[in-house]
């Protein structure tokens, strides 16, 4: 498995964890479920927010992350994305 494939898989895992929690999750849950270091998780989540896959909500009870439509799209089309990137040597 290549590095980028791993990266795509990690993104998939994080988004899946958020989806499992009905599309909203606290950062500690992501950390626990995605099996990443705190720094890595921050990096990935930052990237996901920047890419429009996730939005951050600041509430009285703390920070939560929510899947956007693009995030749901990524999960639904993950197989197509990886198949395309793999077969055209882009992963």
């Amino acid at each position: 498995m290549s590095r980028k494939r791993d990266r795509l898989q990690v993104i998939y895992d994080i988004l899946s964890v958020i989806k499992e929690k009905n599309g909203k999750i606290k950062p500690t849950h992501i950390l626990y479920k995605s099996n990443l270091s705190h720094q890595m998780m921050e990096e990935y989540v930052g990237e996901l927010i920047g890419g429009g896959f996730v939005i951050e909500n600041n509430t009285a009870s703390g920070k939560t992350y929510q899947l956007t439509e693009k995030g749901f799209d990524y999960l639904n089309k993950y197989k197509t994305i990886t198949d395309f990137l793999d077969s055209f040597g882009l992963s």
């Binding site: 990524y74 395309f84 077969s87 882009l90």
Partner: protein, 219 residues
């Protein structure tokens, strides 16, 4: 060798249709790659899409050029740069420019180097050489062949790393594109090679389209 393509009389209509088909297929692949970029934010997919769109533009320019020639030069079957009028010259230069730009972009993607200076260096060196040489078509096909070799090496590695039929299809497709490009070099002397080159290109793009359909149909 001069700057001449020799296209057999009976094949001129077919080459226009094939050029249009190549343009459509490469456009579909390019647009799909950009769609994948939109979904995944993978920069390689964006650059790959841009590369294919460049190649697509080249084919559309070639098709328009051939259509104009077909209508204007019904009797003349030997197409020479020196006999072109200004419009024809611009057309073929644009075709070479976009096709090479597409291949340079694909090579840049397959090299996995995320540095725009590398891309611009490749671009300036190849385009600069093409502009100053008097043997433009020969040099264009030689440069294209070299770029195809680098792309093929990438797809060979990709296939060896993950041996599945989809990776094999893409690898074979690019081998066909290299072979067709070599045929076009010889077609500067004999029209039969042009026919073989176009047929090989057709098989190559068909394989790429088949792979895309297989990937896109999976849910």
């Amino acid at each position: 060798m001069g700057n001449l393509y020799i296209i057999p009389d009976w094949f001129f209509g077919y080459t226009i249709i094939l050029g249009l088909i190549f343009g459509i297929i490469t456009l579909i692949v390019g647009v799909y790659a950009l769609k994948i970029y939109k979904l995944s934010a993978q920069k390689a997919s964006k650059n790959f899409g841009i590369g294919f769109i460049f190649i697509s533009i080249a084919y559309f320019i070639q098709t328009i050029l051939n259509l104009v020639l077909f209508s204007k030069l019904q009797i003349q079957k030997v197409i020479s740069l020196s006999t072109f009028n200004m419009w024809g010259n611009i057309g073929i230069y644009l075709y070479m420019l976009f096709f090479l730009a597409g291949l340079i972009t694909l090579v840049y993607v397959t090299l996995g180097v995320n540095n725009f200076r590398v891309y611009s260096l490749l671009f300036i060196l190849l385009m600069g050489s093409l502009i100053i040489t008097p043997f433009k078509l020969n040099i264009f096909h030689i440069f294209s062949s070299i770029l195809f070799v680098y792309i093929i090496i990438h797809y060979l590695i990709n296939y060896l790393r993950n041996k599945n039929y989809k990776n094999l299809i893409v690898f074979i497709a690019f081998i066909f594109l290299l072979l067709s490009n070599i045929q076009f070099i010889f077609s500067l002397k004999n029209g039969l090679y042009y026919v073989i080159g176009d047929i090989l290109s057709f098989v190559a793009y068909l394989l790429i389209l088949i792979n895309l359909i297989i990937v896109a149909r999976k849910k």
